[in-house]
């Protein structure tokens, strides 16, 4: 087992290098210049009245100074090497926008994104697994067909549409006000509130975002669960169990279920990389200060260190996720030994 772990970890290294290289190249090769952005007053000026006349003047030398300060004038491979070296000492550098430690910014927002995704994964599993089981145990029944169709419909609803409809119709504005249109907590949120009040407030704010993040998971996971259960149900040993006279319920819940749950574990691995990308839209629409929003803003502001850091964090999370799910699979499925399925 130890050797397997080591082998897998070593194999991850080239992957990791590949990922960071791609991210780095894209950021550097794209046109646009963070120095110029600072000169023009930041992103606010883009949406606002325009460039400030007063603070212009001959800012070229100022920008050259600034670039030199951040090492942006060195050749590409040197910049990459410097960045990798810093990475290995676990220092992501400082954001161009405010000189704050990048890791600090990420750490500040990580809990928010984690919370959001944790709840949505939980909700997805809690809803999809029972649905899948029901569908598989009553195949082609009316209920099964309805759930299948609903699953499809939900799968097809674009997130941008659902989020926009939510904001337009039920978050205040001209129609109904059922949920807050954004943020994590009410304005007068106080640390002195009783626990139940704090939890209710958070739940009220997170409800829509979590639902929006999870509805397409219902479809995917329940279909997958159904399919894998159906496959297991066809297996010989299930027939044997029935023939032995075991109650159907025991057959299902003791034998079939356990074996069909196994593949669901691997889905978890594919969910982790979505942590940053998937929440971008939700966090932007609902003003939630998480990693997705940070990523989007940093891209627009050409904040190279932050973007690179987010890329890397996401890559690491994914690789860890894949490793964990492989390990779990080996542990849980006796047919798989060290990642290789026994023939």
């Amino acid at each position: 087992m130890g050797a397997y772990l080591l082998q897998r970890t070593l194999l991850m290294v080239p992957t990791f290098i590949g990922i960071t290289l791609i991210g780095f190249l894209i950021m550097r090769l794209a046109p646009g210049d963070p120095a110029e952005l600072r000169a023009a007053g930041g992103l606010g000026a883009a949406a606002g009245g325009g460039i400030s006349v007063e603070k212009r003047g001959s800012v070229d030398e100022a920008m050259a100074q600034w670039r030199a300060q951040y090492g942006l004038d060195k050749p590409l491979h040197v910049q990459y090497a410097v960045w990798m070296k810093n990475l290995l000492t676990l220092s992501f550098g400082e954001s161009f926008r405010d000189n704050q430690s990048v890791w600090g910014k990420i750490a500040e927002r990580l809990p928010v994104t984690v919370k959001l995704n944790f709840w949505s994964i939980l909700v997805v599993y809690l809803v999809a697994i029972p649905l899948g089981i029901y569908s598989a145990t009553h195949p082609n029944s009316f209920a099964d067909q309805v759930t299948t169709l609903t699953a499809f419909v939900l799968f097809a609803v674009p997130l941008v549409w659902a989020a926009t409809m939510a904001i337009v119709f039920i978050c205040g504005g001209d129609f109904y006000y059922l949920f807050p249109p954004g943020g994590l907590e009410s304005l007068d949120f106080s640390d002195n509130w009783p626990i139940w009040k704090k939890i209710t407030d958070h739940a009220w704010h997170l409800f829509l975002p979590v639902v929006l993040l999870s509805y397409d998971g219902f479809a995917g996971l329940s279909r997958y669960m159904r399919a894998s259960m159906l496959e297991v149900l066809r297996q010989d040993y299930v027939q044997v169990a029935r023939a032995k006279g075991l109650q159907e319920k025991i057959v299902i819940y003791k034998h079939v279920l356990r074996n069909s749950l196994i593949p669901q574990v691997t889905i978890l691995a594919s969910i982790l990389p979505g942590l940053i990308g998937g929440s971008i839209i939700i966090e932007t629409v609902f003003s939630i200060p998480g990693l997705g929003q940070l990523g989007f803003e940093s891209v627009l502001a050409r904040d190279y260190p932050t973007v690179m850091a987010l890329f890397t964090v996401s890559a690491v999370l994914t690789l860890i996720g894949i490793l964990i799910s492989d390990i779990l699979l080996s542990v849980v499925d006796p047919r798989i030994v060290f990642g290789r399925r026994l023939q």
Binding site: G32, R38, L43, A62, G182, S287
Partner: protein, 591 residues
Amino acid sequence: MCWRTWRFVLALLLLIGCGDKTEVKLSDAPPAENAPAPGKPVTGDWLVIHSLSDPEQLNPLTSSDASSSEVNQYIFESLLTREPRTLEFKPYIAEARPEISNDKLSYTFKIRRDVRFQDGRPVTGEDVLFSLKVIKCPLVNAPFLRVYFNSVVDAQLLDPYTIRFATKERYFLNESVLGQEIKILPRHYYDPDDLLKNVSVRDLLKDPSQLNENVKKFADNFNKNYNRNPMGSGPYKFHRWKTGQEIELTRDPNYWGKGKPGIDQAYIDRLKFRVVNNMDAALVRLKSGSLDYMEVLQPVQHVRGTNSERFNREFKKYEYYAPTYSYIGWNNNHPIFRDKRVRQAMTYLTDRKQIVKSVLFGLGEVVDSHIYFFRPEYDKTLRSYPFDPQKALALLNEAGWKDTDGDGVLDKVIDGKKVPLRFEIKVNSGNAVRKSVALVLLDELKKHGIAASVRELDWTIFLNDVKNHQFDAVVLGWQMSTTEPDAYQVWHSSQAANKGSNAISYKNSRVDEILELYRREFDAQKRIQMYKEFQEIIHDEQPYTFLYVAKRVSAVHRRFQGVEVFPDGLRPIDWWVPVARQKYVNTVSAQ
């Protein structure tokens, strides 16, 4: 998650320890209608201000965005300020306006003796000198502010409360630069080890590599460690910052200027800058009581979302002009736009009045000049170009543009080649209004045989192209101030080659002359005359198609008294709430 929990635990401990229980009691404010006359200002209550985005950081010098200056304006003060209504200079930290030497190169300020920083220490000339040193230090991350001080070359303390600045050229705005742009920083706080003690302003003019170790250490420390903890002499102290959510300032009960004439008095106990990135969400929060003040309502919101009876009972809207204007810049070096008749034709083809009515929902005025609409320097006798496609076509024909091949697009022979009247208008992404303007123009041009196209670019790429003159036409805006204008940077021909603000490469020797003389003129009336001529030339040449100055609409909760519109906008510092209508209450405040 651990970090947050620890902070919370720590906060709890502190709360228990110090007995500073700031509990919030939300009392329902009675409706506005039958409120009695306000009476004298009292302290109390909170003001929740809408902020579109989090500031990058709160270091008063190194931050370059509008959000941070919005917060810092309550924390820091300067030698002079402007009287809100007349915009005349008013002494603030200084006892009086500076004494200016006859050669106009020396400015001497006497500093008040009763000014204190928020931690109680007195403000002296040392601090003012220090503040200038920080600005001039090339290693401090404030290159864009520093450029502004290029002509300031020295500062000396004549006595502990008198400072003399030396500039190297005559420029009537130097008083403004020195008086208003130097935010007075407490030396003992921002330079606790007194590293800059033996460094003079002249030393800082040297090449950065020749600066001594102390300066490097200081700059490093200053750039890195003061982003979240500003401290100045102003009436509001920085309290805390929940990243991405809100910044809170509290009123300093021991403010040095309390009760003193001529100094802004503060009444609101807490200023909370609440971040809501989405304008629609912000409006909803305003209506539901989570926000008290939105400085900018979108035109659509003003026209559609804020006119119900309920809204008007709780909020009052204020309309006023902000000193910004939008324009279409024609690349004056482009073969098509070299001819001023073509540029004039473009202006005739832009239905500016209709744009203001439809795209801005009527919230704006057409402008015809670079000067702020409400300044005395603005030439009101200019006759605005109307929307007149016939005249435009006549001008284009005169300039040689005709549709000779029946493909629907005008063309002309330039340098022996037949060139269609085709060009690209660049706009930046992120500004829906300017994009709409470009699209409207496009549509109109197409009807008359001009094949224009619009290209939307990311802000930084866009700026790069503008700077490097890589465009045919751009839609942009300028943000100015309500104080004396100086059009040099934008219109002088020297500012075209050095990638300055003269992006359209405008060149006119008479205009150059006027702009130079103007800077050296200290008599206001003479300056107005000079600029009249300047504007007439520009009006004839139409290097820009000037579009409009937009009106700003703000919404303020009615419980706030003392709300007035000034040339510079609203001044929340003056506002207060009568005790009976205060919404947020601190239980401990004998202050």
